[in-house]
């Protein structure tokens, strides 16, 4: 089982996830790939074998008003291949996660078209890097727009309209208030899209009243033969939140104390929650899977969890690669 984290790297100073310059300053995918190469070196050093790349890796690549950015992926074929080769050498499992603004089932045709363009672009980046089918683009269903059934149907239709290479890379995740595991299971049965189980979303939104192991196994079994499923895991935030407010009239700043919301990610992973959940899954002979950790402390949370696993579950939860090689204990 691999453990991964998403996008931002907090361990070493000054590692950027992608070229964040605005369009006026000519950002470019090739600059993002140079940053990505630096991150891969860091991941390799820390023995981290799974990583979610920034969804803006190719800046403005499908922006309808900025055509000068549209050819970045073709222009970077050599650089994509070089970074992809490095990922293969380091045995890295890579993925994308579309932003919430990318809504395949949008009511607005223009938004839907733009979203499809972005899915296609991200799939082409993975293709350009020469990555196998385990490298996926994860998305949510989108909005309900007053009619759940129509929204699901619209997603299915738009999914089927995607070019085959994009369709083959897409994986679908349920969310914490709109579309449940039951909903995305319907979409799997309708389209064949593999499903990503998310522990925190599931705990927050489970209208079907499924058992966690049942929901997990349902999602795992949707992945094609030969492609290792992945899941998302995060713990709910329990710490106090300080919310900064600005008075709209006078502009005076103030801060409010707020209790955390159950849908918010914690900085770190609750090790006992993780061990109980993963341990139970492993005891039930489910298909093997990888775990993307979604935390605010990013790579630091992963490294910290490793320490906890070494201490509390050294024999049951093995953090390593697909070949049975176990990462050395810290």
């Amino acid at each position: 089982m691999r453990l991964g984290f998403a996008v931002k790297v907090l361990g070493p100073p000054s590692l950027k996830s992608h070229d964040t310059r605005r369009w006026q300053n000519h950002p470019h995918l090739s600059v993002s790939l140079a940053y990505l190469r630096d991150i891969f070196l860091y991941l390799h050093r820390q023995d981290i074998r799974m990583y979610r790349m920034a969804s803006d890796l190719a800046p403005y690549v499908s922006h309808p008003d900025l055509p000068e950015f549209h050819s970045q992926i073709e222009d970077c074929s050599a650089e994509l291949a070089a970074v992809g080769e490095m990922a293969a050498d380091y045995d890295l499992r890579l993925s994308f996660h579309l932003q919430l603004s990318t809504v395949l089932n949008a009511n607005d045709e223009a938004i839907a078209h733009q979203s499809a363009q972005l899915v296609t672009a991200q799939a082409r980046i993975l293709e350009g890097m020469g990555l196998g089918p385990h490298a996926v683009v994860v998305t949510h269903v989108g909005g309900i727009y007053g009619d759940r059934d129509a929204a699901l149907e619209r997603f299915a239709r738009r999914y089927e309209d995607l070019p085959a290479p994009a369709r083959s890379r897409l994986a679908l995740e349920h969310d914490d208030r709109r579309f449940s595991v039951g909903d995305i299971l319907w979409l799997y049965q309708r389209t064949g899209v593999p499903l990503v189980f998310d522990y925190l979303h599931f705990r927050n939104h489970n209208p079907e009243g499924m058992a966690a192991m049942e929901a997990l196994e349902t999602c795992l079994r949707t992945w094609p033969v030969g492609v290792k499923p992945k899941i998302h895991f995060s713990s709910p935030r329990t710490a106090m939140r300080v919310v900064e407010r600005k008075d709209t009239k006078g502009g005076a700043a103030s801060s409010l104390m707020r209790a955390p919301r159950s849908i918010q990610h914690a900085d770190f992973i609750d090790p006992f929650q993780f061990i109980d959940f993963i341990g139970e899954a492993m005891s039930q002979a489910m298909p093997a899977f990888d775990v993307m950790l979604e935390t605010k402390a990013k790579d630091l949370a992963l490294l910290h969890l490793r320490g906890h696993l070494d201490r509390f579950a050294p024999d049951t939860i093995v953090d390593g690669d697909d070949h049975g090689n176990r990462r050395a204990p810290q």
Partner: protein
């Protein structure tokens, strides 16, 4: 300066690279690119800007960072396609990063090296580049290392940061080097992860104290507890070791030319 500009200075990454030939300078200025061997690229190659440390061949501009430029595009190409007039070069098939850059902007005043030292690459920020008084201000260290650096500067003690133990092994560096009349003192600051109890693998290898001693270095290790004390206390302890080695040797470098000048606004090379 607006909030957005300040944020941009803080977040923009700069790679300070070495410019050691007039040809490379002409290529950068006229053709707008710089090259780095792919296999020997530093651990941080990604950047929004490139800046150039010019070596001894540049007369007036030597041993200083005089220019920087926006990084526009990174290509991975063979040396053969990069320099077609050298098709028989032994490394003709080797891969290089060709980094396309914008117009060279002149830093005024330049950022000198006090010790006229050899440098490979320095990853830094635009903020540091635009405000550095000398090369050693460019390195981004842990909070403890930065406090110690400020204490050295305030005390007027000439130290070099990230100094290699040997020129042929640049990955083995001490965090601070002091050059004494009867030897060298290397100060190693304990690598601090951003969160104290999260274990990380170090970016650079640990210094072997015995090997360092054999090369004429006296190593001073500073742990978290040392660094938690007032920096002046650490400096005092280090200077005791320096004292045992005859005190600091005069370097005779650019500092004698009065290089500590406040930085001004950068200008384009064409305006300079």
């Amino acid at each position: 300066m607006g909030t957005e500009e300040r944020r941009s200075e803080r977040t923009s990454r700069v790679l300070v690279a070495v410019m050691n030939s007039h040809r490379d300078y002409e290529i950068a200025r006229e053709r707008g690119w710089y090259r780095i061997p792919y296999e020997r690229a530093p651990s941080r190659v990604g950047a929004d800007y490139l800046a150039f440390y010019q070596t001894s061949v540049f007369d007036e501009d030597r041993w200083a960072v005089n220019y920087y430029a926006t990084a526009m595009r990174y290509h991975v190409v063979s040396r053969r396609s990069l320099l077609p007039d050298e098709p028989d070069h032994p490394r003709a098939d080797a891969l290089y990063y060709r980094i396309d850059i914008g117009p060279l902007l002149r830093l005024s005043p330049p950022i000198p090296s006090q010790r006229l030292r050899r440098i490979s690459f320095i990853p830094t920020t635009l903020e540091r580049l635009l405000h550095a008084e000398e090369i050693n201000d460019l390195w981004c260290g842990s909070p403890g290392e930065e406090r110690l650096w400020r204490a050295f500067k305030e005390s007027g003690i000439g130290v070099e940061r990230r100094y290699p133990l040997r020129e042929d092994a640049p990955e083995y560096t001490v965090d601070f080097a002091l050059f004494c009349k009867q030897g060298r003192v290397g100060v190693c600051v304990e690598g601090a992860p951003p969160v104290r109890n999260v274990r990380m693998v170090r970016e650079f290898p640990l210094i072997d104290e015995y090997a360092a001693n054999a090369l004429g270095w006296t190593i001073v290790q500073l742990g978290h507890r040392d660094l938690a004390r007032p920096p002046a206390t650490c400096v005092e302890a280090i200077m005791k070791v320096v004292g045992r080695l005859g005190g600091v040797a005069r370097t005779g470098g650019i500092q004698d030319r009065g290089a500590h000048v406040r930085r001004g606004t950068p200008t384009r090379v064409t305006d300079a």
